[in-house]
């Protein structure tokens, strides 16, 4: 019996964790290439969720198609924030100004959505949440299978893109040394734009899959993003493998804390872990270069 409960919570944790990974990967990619933090990333998640919701409810679209819509909307938001915030501020060379500006964008988006969509939570239901499979005493919904399949596929594609394509290699080159990469004929501005668009697309897409799990309000992304920040630091800023590991870890912490303790303790446990990591191992789970900030 206990083994079943543990297995069930492990499944729940991995499903949730893989969504956190999608959100956190975007943050970590942007950090890797720009050494900047996009605070509005959370609101891209929320906006993606709303885009999927309205695509399904107003246009009668299919849920799987709505994930694609959320992805496209996220990409568009990423393009816009690069154009208005990151690109103009890049030449000022400040570490903090872009971060503060994106806090402003986040405030605009949250309260804009509040005015637009109202504070009452939306019930986001997919036809796949009802279909349940039973394997050896544990339950899977079709929805969680979709989440695992889509996020695994996305992460694999992203990985292959970074490892094997010219653009991916160029991205990693810019992440390692922007100036030298520029000398090799790589256009950093274009690659930075590409990184932000990709990252934001991941956020939008994660929103469409998180929406059925979360309480969908204009502030839904905030609860996710604080965890995503914790994941990015626990995994090591800019470190893709570390982020994946930390994302799954946080998902598991969340499901087991809910089962054995109290859901109110989740954030406390996650952030206590974050502060401990910062105190004793600030380079993250998997150490890499990039120690100038710690």
């Amino acid at each position: 019996m206990t083994a079943t409960i543990v297995a069930q919570q492990a499944i729940n944790g991995i499903v949730l964790g893989s969504l956190y990974v999608l959100v956190a990967l975007g943050l970590t990619l942007i950090y890797g290439v720009l050494v900047q933090i996009n605070f509005a990333h959370a609101d891209f998640v929320t906006f993606g969720a709303f885009a999927a919701y309205f695509f399904m409810h107003l246009l009668g679209g299919n849920y799987l198609a709505s994930i694609a819509v959320a992805l496209a909307v996220g990409a568009l938001l990423g393009w816009a924030i690069n154009l208005t915030i990151f690109a103009p501020l890049r030449h000022k060379g400040s570490e903090l100004l872009p971060l503060i500006a994106t806090i402003g964008v986040s405030t605009i988006m949250q309260n804009g959505m509040l005015a637009w969509f109202g504070p009452i939570p939306y019930a986001f239901e997919t036809p796949y949440s009802q279909r349940v499979f039973r394997v050896a005493g544990t339950f899977f919904t079709a929805q969680s299978l979709i989440i695992i399949a889509v996020s695994t596929l996305t992460i694999a594609l992203l990985y292959a893109f970074m490892k094997f394509t010219f653009l991916g290699k160029a991205l990693r080159a810019v992440a390692q040394d922007r100036e030298t990469a520029g000398l090799m004929g790589i256009n950093p501005s274009y690659l930075i734009m590409l990184t932000i668009v990709l990252s934001s697309a991941l956020a939008g897409m994660a929103g469409a899959m998180l929406a059925p799990v979360l309480v969908l309000t204009p502030f839904a992304g905030t609860t996710v993003i604080v965890k995503a920040f914790a994941i990015v630091i626990i995994g090591g800023f800019g470190n893709v493998e570390g982020t994946i590991l930390a994302g799954l870890l946080v998902g598991l912490i969340e499901s087991f804390t809910t089962q054995y303790f109290d859901p109110g303790l989740i954030d406390i446990v996650v952030f206590a872990l974050l502060l401990l990591m910062l105190a004793f191992r600030p380079t993250g789970l998997i150490s890499e270069r990039r120690e100038e900030n710690v």
Partner: protein, 334 residues
């Protein structure tokens, strides 16, 4: 007397006049802007000025991006209120304890964070704010969680023999108390930032390695700045509780940190006067724009973003530009 001494004395006397004018403005304001609505707004302004001053000392002078100011604010409010309502400790004793507790938690966070810079510190302090908010929300036996604490009494009346008793049930008296305290904090911080301590902090902010080569212990000074800034934030919390009369954890959610940050940035970080006006502007602007309903807070975000993009020195920079235009003098750096 040397030239420098003459200039210093001139500036000093100008400062004294400015403080006197500020005290006068505080005295007159409740009679210009009358009625409960305006008195409430004025007191909110005074509390926000305190919050902005505290953050500005950490961010503008010591250069540490602290996103945890909401936590110090909340700790000050809850610690002082719980001491009053649970243990019956008199207001001013509880006030001192609340300020000290907030200051010490700032020191605690800084001890964690001194090795971190920039983004890491931002996230660590944000994490601290998340933890404090969650503890306030979930430690129900102590804080009553989301239900909140109600009927918090105002500070006790002050009775001076021969004069009528001053009761802080009167909103004007409460405004005088909080605004007067904010002015006191301003004067003290103004002394502090112009002292060698302020110069030390600025040196660390501008170039930590060079500062270290001059024998400055950067870590110790950052901890000091965090302690002071957090204590000022805690004082704002100690006043907030009896002013509003109720405490709920969501008043100290992380978005409150962002609002305080907006006040400092819009006003102009690294100056003391800038954040004062930033706090007043961002408190009153949404009130003046009440007609636009839920879009009120969009104004905060818009102001923050536009200032960062086009006027990173905030109102203080705008004022220097205007003054330079008027007098034809060159723009001074700070």
């Amino acid at each position: 007397m040397s030239d420098a001494a003459v200039v210093a004395e001139y500036r000093g006397s100008r400062r004294r006049w400015a403080f006197l004018a500020a005290a006068l403005a505080i005295a007159v304001l409740p009679y210009v802007l009358t009625g409960n609505y305006w008195h409430t707004n004025l007191t909110v302004c005074a509390i926000n000025v305190l919050l902005a001053l505290g953050l500005d000392f950490i961010l503008g002078y010591a250069g540490q991006l602290n996103l945890g100011q909401s936590a110090f604010y909340g700790l000050g409010a809850y610690v002082s209120t719980l001491l009053i309502t649970r243990l019956g400790i008199p207001f001013w004793g509880a006030f001192a304890a609340g300020v000290a507790f907030a200051g010490l938690s700032g020191v605690f966070l800084a001890l964690f964070a001194v090795r971190l810079r920039g983004h890491y510190l931002a996230i660590a302090s944000l994490g601290f704010a998340v933890i404090v908010h969650q503890v306030l929300l979930n430690w129900i036996s102590l804080t009553q969680g989301p239900l909140g604490i109600y009927a918090i009494p105002p500070p006790p009346p002050i009775a001076i023999p021969g004069l009528p008793e001053i009761s802080f049930r009167d909103p004007v008296a409460l405004f005088y108390l909080i605004a007067g305290f904010a002015l006191l904090v301003y004067v003290l911080l103004d002394q502090l930032v112009r002292s060698p301590i302020g110069e030390t902090l600025t040196a660390i902010r501008e170039d930590e390695i060079s500062a270290a080569s001059l024998g400055i212990n950067a870590a110790a000074w950052k901890v000091f700045a965090f302690g002071i800034g957090a204590a000022v934030g805690g004082a704002a919390g100690c006043f907030y509780a009896p002013f509003v009369g109720t405490l709920v954890p969501d008043a100290f959610f992380i978005t409150e940190s962002f609002s305080i940050l907006a006040m400092v940035i819009v006003g102009g970080m690294g100056t003391l006067i800038g954040p004062v006006f930033g706090a007043i502007l961002l408190t009153l602007l949404p009130e003046l724009l009440r007609g636009i309903g839920d879009l009120r807070l969009v104004v905060y975000g818009l102001a923050l973003t536009l200032v960062v993009l086009f006027l990173p020195g905030g109102l203080a920079q705008a004022w220097r530009l205007v003054r330079a235009k008027l007098t034809g003098a060159p723009v001074s750096a700070r």
